[in-house]
Amino acid sequence: MTASAVARAAPHRRFGLSRLAWREARWAYVFLAPWIIGFLAFTLIPMIATFIFTLTNINLNQAEPLRFVGLDNYARLLGDQQTWESFTVTLKFAAVALPVAVILPFMVALLLSSRYLRFAGAFRVLFFLPYVVPFVAGVLIWLSMLNGDSGWLNLFLQAIGVSNPPNWLQDPNFVYAGLVLVGIWGIGGGVIVYLAGLKGVPTELYDAARIDGAGWWASLRHVTIPMISPVIFYTLILGIVDLLQYFLVPLVLYQGTGEPGGTTNFLNLYIYKSFFNYQDMSYGATLAWFLFGVTLAITLVLFGTARRWVYYAGER
């Protein structure tokens, strides 16, 4: 039966919807049109194009004729030492920064939600404030703060008796700690999210825990953390996605040179350089899909484990 036959047989139905429902759906698509067009133009089609690029030898200045090369780019990626080094750099930094990104905002939120804290409103505003400081400004301020000789952090460390504090952003052994400090002004978003989560924990649960003899630590461990596990999960996923893409801070700090000693050659920096510096579109695209695949795989694995440790109060 053809489409027109369907229309003749049931003139008031289209795509299996009643006339009223179809009218409602039509309006919905009108309102959704900006997003649908934007999604196609700026997300879906570019994603597919990126994937097609990975199968070709496309290049910004295209010296040799454009042709399909099959999986050559992927073979090159597997054998490219620079890829694995930059991937290792990304994973190492993520391993250092992720615990801070998840735990530090939680601790600050606990402090800010304490019923013993005075002036809590003012503290919340001030702890959130650096979150709106432009990224470049924040990087330059911390660069100066972490200066090996005159930075206040090292002056403070010397004052409390550390005789030879590290030159944070220039020493390969301390650069990740330095970069974590540079990023610390970004915790405001996480703090607010945790605060909202903490506010949502029913007070009866704390009362019940206290009656059962639970102290501060026990009620944190057995009431607070399970109850806000969805927020922890959200922060964790967002933290991983952000950290796998990390490269802008080193781009500003070291102009993309990978200093000190190659410790800041992040995977995303390699993608950026492949495309913008070496004009190698097809290989940059291959690296981008590699990053996408890794992000997707890690996210899916985490969603798989979520069932075991994330507790949704409304779930049946």
């Binding site: 919905a28 309102f31 503290f123 709106v132 330059l140 959200y234 893409q245 802008l248």
Partner: protein, 376 residues
């Protein structure tokens, strides 16, 4: 008999709530005082911890502020205090002399060293130059130099001129405002579509919206940049402005969550009165949703102001069209070693507007973040 017991119980149960101390004062002192003292102690300890943590957290801002007022010589002087200060000098009989902190008669006075000697030196008092020289017994090399407060606010005007700040500022404001208009318009329409209409594929489409939040930008940037380059948009504002008119996942999500909390009765009443969906959106929904619309506008303003990567790649060849973030990064890359004071002055100028926006609209800001993150 029963009533006093209940009130005593009540006071025990409300420990920690506001007004507790006032209530406890009405109770028999010996029994409740330890608890009140303990609470006050905890309150003090907790607030103290918060003050120390906050001071550490915001101290880089203070350092930036002090640096922004220092000249290169002041920054290079390792003995200078943390605030902007120069070594004090005194012009005495036509020549400049350094001022030192001299311990005399149990106090420390700032005196200019006129005649140096190994075991005794002669000093002039800057506050009374005409008086005879003061002789001090001791090695002058052990004395600390005296500093006087000497800020250099001209750093701000210098950086303003050197990086053509008025142009950068105008560009940033225009890009932020146009982008904000586009974002508010498009995201409101899309969020309304998701919040108020039933249609096939709604859940799948909404999942796609959420999924784009987690999508690495690298996977779309290469073709997008290439296309923008082909159609001549690179080197213009269009790659920054046009996408703003096609909605983004964060703000659609935020608006949609809020619209879902608005009861439908008013919509239905409007539609019975013959209002179409557009009319309902404008005259029923928007008047109730304005707090979240403001939140979205502020979010986009700050996001656009702070964005670095997109202006960097699309405007690198056209300095006249660049934004403050890119201009500042370019300036610091070229000047980082030579004049840190100028860089910090530029930095403070760049963060002033988003910080002020935040302080004025902080209520909307915080509420917006809470809606996006928790209602998931």
């Amino acid at each position: 008999m029963a009533a006093p017991n209940r009130s005593a119980d009540a006071s025990r149960l409300t420990v920690g709530e506001p007004g507790l101390l006032a209530r406890l004062r009405g109770q028999s002192r010996p029994r409740v005082r330890p608890k009140a003292v303990r609470n006050a102690g905890r309150s003090f300890a907790m607030t103290f911890v918060a003050v120390v943590a906050l001071a550490a957290f915001l101290s880089p801002l203070l350092r930036s502020a002090t640096m922004s007022l220092k000249s290169p010589e002041q920054i290079a002087d390792v003995n200078s205090p943390l605030y902007p200060a120069s070594a004090a000098t005194l012009t005495y009989e036509g020549r400049d002399y350094d001022v030192y902190q001299v311990p005399i008669a149990g106090t420390t006075r700032d005196l200019a060293l006129i005649k140096k000697g190994r075991t005794s030196s002669q000093f002039a008092d800057p506050s009374d130059v005409a008086a005879p020289l003061i002789t001090w017994e001791g090695a002058w090399r052990t004395l600390q130099p005296a500093y006087k407060f000497d800020p250099h606010p001209e750093n701000f005007s210098n950086v303003w001129d050197q990086i053509d700040y008025p142009t950068l500022l105008r560009n940033t404001i225009l890009i932020a405002l146009i982008g904000t208009i586009g974002t508010v318009l498009s995201c409101t329409l899309v969020a309304y579509g998701f919040a108020r209409f039933r249609f096939p594929g709604r859940n799948v489409l909404f999942l796609l919206v959420i999924a784009t939040i987690f999508l690495p930008g690298a996977v779309t940037i290469i073709p997008t940049y290439t296309i923008f380059n082909k159609i001549g948009w690179v080197g213009t504002w269009l790659p920054l402005l046009v996408p703003a008119f096609f909605a983004n996942a964060y703000d659609v999500f935020l608006l949609r969550q809020y619209l879902l909390t608005i009861p439908r009765e008013m919509d239905e009443a409007a539609s019975i009165d013959g209002a179409g969906p557009f009319r309902t959106l404008v005259s029923v929904i928007l008047p109730q949703a304005w707090p979240v619309v403001i939140a979205v506008a502020i979010f986009h303003l700050v996001y656009s102001w702070n964005d670095f990567f997109q202006p960097l790649i699309y405007l690198s060849s056209t300095p006249d069209l660049q934004t403050v973030a890119v201009g500042l990064a370019r300036f610091s890359g070229a000047r980082v070693a030579s004049d840190p004071g100028l860089i910090q002055a530029g930095t403070l100028m760049t963060l002033a507007i988003p910080v002020l926006l935040f302080l004025v609209f902080q209520r909307f800001f915080v509420r917006g973040i809470v809606i996006t993150a928790v209602e998931k």
